[in-house]
């Protein structure tokens, strides 16, 4: 009977999670406006600096071992915060792209599909990167590379801007005055 109790509790939890996620999904479908406002800008240079192995090496040479581990952990926590925001932004971009997929315009639909795929890849990379950061928190002396997250983020941003231009060509697009 103990086994039955365990299974009943597991089934009740599963039911609760499924209901909650289904309701969230239904509400999301109804509130797909103002998604852009949910994007939080990220200082990519600061993030690049955080994950630069040369910086870590420099700190490792200059600081005593225990102090280095402390600083490394602080840097890893900051890194996790950045990656978390990048992942949240990717999630918003997935939703923006999926909302645009319904467009009758083939060019917009194509750009939207590209955006969804890039954002999903970023989302996947951020999930893996977060797992590695948390592992590195336990072993601060281990090496770590999250460069792919930045590269993917930049690629997604580019695709998002392309989609924006296609969706609303009437508005002057200031991609960059320097480009």
């Amino acid at each position: 009977m103990n086994l039955a109790i365990v299974i009943v509790i597991a089934a009740a939890l599963a039911l609760g999670i499924i209901l909650r996620l289904a309701v969230t999904q239904s509400l999301q479908a109804k509130r797909s406006t103002n998604l852009v406002g949910a994007i939080r800008p990220i200082d990519v240079e600061a993030f690049r600096n955080l994950i630069n192995p040369a910086e870590d090496e420099y700190l490792r040479c200059r600081l005593p071992a225990n102090r280095f581990r402390e600083v490394r952990r602080q840097r890893l926590r900051a890194m996790a915060a950045y990656v978390h925001v990048a992942g949240s932004n990717a999630a918003v971009l997935v939703r923006v792209g999926e909302a645009a997929l319904a467009s009758g315009d083939a060019r917009i639909a194509g750009a939207a599909q590209q955006l969804v795929n890039d954002a999903l890849l970023l989302r996947r990379n951020t999930t893996v990167a977060l797992a590695r950061i948390y592992l590195a928190l336990a072993w601060p002396n281990s090496g770590f590379a999250a460069v792919r997250v930045i590269e993917r983020y930049e690629q997604v941003s580019g695709t998002a801007m392309l989609l924006g231009r296609l969706q609303n060509p009437a508005v002057p697009v200031r991609l960059s005055a320097r480009l």
Partner: protein, 256 residues
């Protein structure tokens, strides 16, 4: 009222299956059976199976052993079809998302393998106390096993899509929600029955099972047949200056 062979008992056993035949007819007429062939097959198979079992339950010359044997025989293809419905849902969720399709398929397969292992362990620990009812006990354990795998897979699908913020289309969400509710409630009730719980009030669990299934059929009716309100998507509702804000944010991101 909550007694075996009461009017409510008859209705809850047979009513949902009449409704699901009607649903299958509607799906056929709307051509939706081509998009969801496995779910369509599930509706038909489940209805035929339950009509057969209901008829056999009413016929006095059908022995208890024959009834349970038919129940067990029907469970095997039904289990495969139910897993097939989940495969169909995952196909619809992943086919246009090439970036996560491979990872998703691998994770679903891995989750399925772990669930089969867990279900086998749970089945091994379930008792078959009375040899006289061994066939019924095996049927209970088989149900517990199948629902454990199904419930786990559907839960995984919901968690996976939530993690990647993938959107479900209305039909897929309806089917997934219905199967999710059905499999989790049935898992709990069959686990209690298979492990010898509520021996004197087992019919209450039967009522819970059939009432839950009735609810699920109504959910399918709502999601599959009631037309979706056309939501205003961001693709058409972006105010003119929104794109500017968007670009400014991303430009800042790219050039900082």
């Amino acid at each position: 009222m909550l007694q075996p062979h009461s009017l409510l008992w008859h209705y809850l056993w047979i009513g949902p299956h009449i409704l699901q035949v009607a649903l299958a007819v509607f799906l056929w007429r709307r051509g939706m059976h081509k998009r969801f062939p496995v779910f369509f097959a599930y509706l038909i198979f489940e209805a035929i199976e339950e009509f057969t079992l209901y008829g056999m339950d009413l016929l006095p010359w059908v022995s208890v052993r024959t009834w349970w044997l038919t129940f067990c025989v029907g469970l095997v293809p039904e289990g495969f079809i139910r897993i097939g419905v989940i495969a169909e849902l995952s196909f619809h969720l992943l086919r246009s998302r090439s970036a996560v399709a491979k990872a998703g398929s691998l994770l679903i397969t891995g989750t399925g393998a772990i669930l089969v292992l867990l279900a086998a362990v749970a089945a091994a620990y379930a008792p078959i106390d009375n040899p006289q009812y061994a066939l019924a006990s095996r049927a209970y354990i088989l149900q517990q096993t199948l629902y454990m795998i199904e419930c786990g897979l559907i839960l995984f699908l919901f968690l996976f899509t939530a993690c990647f913020k993938l959107s479900w289309d209305r039909t897929t969400l309806g089917i997934g929600l219905g199967r999710g509710i059905s499999s989790s409630v049935h898992l709990a009730t069959w686990a209690v029955i298979a492990n010898g719980g509520l021996a004197n009030r087992r019919y209450l669990l039967d009522f819970l099972n059939v009432a839950t299934y009735h609810l699920c059929v109504l959910i399918w009716f709502y999601y599959l047949l009631v037309p979706q309100k056309i939501a205003t998507t961001s693709a058409v509702s972006l105010p003119e200056n929104n794109l500017d804000i968007w670009n400014r944010e991303l430009e800042r991101l790219l050039h900082q």
